[in-house]
């Protein structure tokens, strides 16, 4: 892989993820129209598809941060106990130009972290006590920078939109299959009914599957973008590379996570799932690949003054 430099990588990744989301939206529209035409009105099908997505979106838009935090039993960070963590978050907020997010701590010895919140003004970062204790200050900086990059890229909003679109496709497919099971298409001509139903069933099965594949691809792309964003903020990608290796190597399983919240974490916390799942369905790129990318980055401008890479202590 040629080295493109940090900013080149960031631009390329942004383009790719936008393309993926665009494809997903087109898929939703096409699916809706296809189902609609099956029942005689393609336009109505399209409208229904968008409406379903819209309703799902509204219900998930504002709930976001507090639901996720509550589900992970996180407590707000304490200035006395979590001094280093709060300092690191402040430093990274300054480096990125973002407002300081609210910081939370999860009592779990498995190292991991996530970010949530619909935009930088309403963001929250949660870190496990395991992460806090097992990483050194530079590595912690790398992880926090990665989470802040998610916030800056509006990734939470992005993945919500994608999840909603996929959910809408899944709902529509479900609905269509059910209707076909109980009563055939309303305007099928008897001669053409057989193959038409077969096509319809195939579409109803393939559409949600391809939507999920696209969703996983988008998720991986955004993870890579966040890794690059972390390198941009710290100017010291080695820190995040080391942190990722440490987290990956840690045998402990994060108890607070489940399949729903897994994609939010910096490294997929569900260890056994990761080993069984096909690589196309992964929400995160493989850790070795991430580490390789970070270590191969060509930075212009060198390490930040005051960072360990420039020779001062931390």
């Amino acid at each position: 892989m040629e080295t493109r430099g940090l900013y080149g990588e960031i631009a390329a990744n942004r383009r790719r993820s936008l393309l993926l989301v665009f494809t997903l939206t087109v898929l939703l529209g096409a699916f809706g129209a296809a189902l609609g035409s099956l029942y005689g009105d393609a336009g109505a099908g399209l409208v229904v598809a968008m409406a379903v997505a819209g309703v799902l979106l509204l219900t998930t838009w504002y709930g976001g941060a507090s639901m996720t935090l509550a589900a992970s039993s996180a407590r707000p960070a304490d200035p006395a106990r979590d001094q280093v963590l709060l300092n690191v978050v402040h430093e990274m907020a300054i480096a990125s130009g973002l407002p300081v997010p609210s910081v939370h701590v999860i009592d779990d010895s498995a190292p991991n972290a996530f970010a949530t919140g619909r935009d930088p003004d309403h963001a929250a970062i949660a870190v496990t006590t395991g992460l806090y204790q097992k990483l050194d200050r530079d590595e912690l900086q790398g992880v926090i920078a990665h989470e802040l990059a998610h916030v800056r890229n509006f990734d939470i909003r992005y993945t919500t939109l994608v999840a909603v679109t996929v959910g809408a496709i899944a709902l529509l497919a479900d609905f269509a299959l059910r209707r076909m099971w109980w009563s055939g298409p309303t305007r099928s001509r008897n001669r053409g009914a057989g193959p038409l139903i077969l096509v319809a069933v195939l579409v109803a099965i393939l559409a949600p599957l391809s939507a999920r594949l696209l969703q996983a691809a988008v998720s991986r792309r955004r993870e890579t973008l966040a890794d690059l964003g972390s390198a941009e903020m710290t100017r010291y990608p080695e820190a995040l590379a080391r942190a990722l290796e440490k987290i990956e190597a840690d045998p402990e399983v994060l108890e607070a996570a489940n399949r729903a919240t897994a994609p939010l974490y910096i490294v997929n916390p569900i260890k056994s799932f990761e080993k069984r799942a096909a690589s196309l369905l992964r929400s995160h790129p493989p850790t070795e690949e991430r580490v390789r990318l970070l270590r191969g980055l060509v930075l212009s401008g060198g390490p930040a003054p005051g960072s360990p890479a420039s020779g001062s202590s931390s």
Binding site: N87, V88, I94, A95, A304, G306, S313
Partner: protein, 190 residues
């Protein structure tokens, strides 16, 4: 017939003028936004520097009693701080700040030699606060430089560069660190 022709041409010209003015307004607004971000980034650096000034007297107080033989290091820190607070003008201030950073680094290096001092909880907290502050200053400068880069790039690329000078925007300078700051820290071991 000719009347209609002239009318269409006038309309086209009018449309072009409107588009040009619109583009000019948008460009001006985005440049103003960038310049304000730049000023904000610069102000942030000052905020972090002041924070450091406030923390240092505490640190000196706490370590003073333990470090009987290192008074020169402590004195240098206190003097450097006073000089930085009193500095006038950006060049002067930059020099004083760099001197203060150097003095603090020496202090941290020396503290490593005093295990009792190192283990003292107050000292540890203060040291972490100062480390945090030094990092914040460094990242504030980094962010300022990043913003300068964005601003200058916007100014110098086509088509904004055509009107940037006319509108009164000039390229800004990067914040450079002094060469003295890059020297390795000298520690006298006893």
């Amino acid at each position: 017939m000719i009347g209609i022709g002239i009318g269409v041409v006038l309309l086209v010209i009018l449309g072009l003028i409107v588009l040009l003015v619109g583009w000019g307004i948008l460009t001006y607004n985005s440049l103003v936004t960038l310049r304000n971000q730049l000023q904000n980034a610069w102000a942030q650096i000052d905020v972090q520097l002041k924070r450091r000034y406030d923390l240092i007297p505490n640190l000196v107080e706490v370590v003073k009693d333990y470090m009987q033989y290192e008074q020169e290091v402590l004195t240098r820190v206190t003097e450097a701080r006073a000089a930085a607070v009193a500095a006038q003008g950006p060049a002067d201030q930059a020099r004083a700040e760099n001197a203060l950073t150097g003095a603090l680094r020496q202090l941290f290096a020396v503290v490593e030699n005093y295990p009792d001092l190192k283990a003292n909880e107050n000292v540890m907290r203060l040291q972490e606060e100062l480390t945090g502050t030094e990092n914040r200053i460094a990242f504030a400068r980094q962010f300022y430089n990043d913003t300068v880069m964005r601003f200058n790039t916007r100014l110098q690329t086509f088509p904004t560069n055509i009107i940037a000078g006319v509108l009164g925007f000039t390229a800004q300078e990067f914040f450079e660190t002094d060469d003295a700051e890059r020297e390795p820290v000298k520690v006298n071991l006893r």
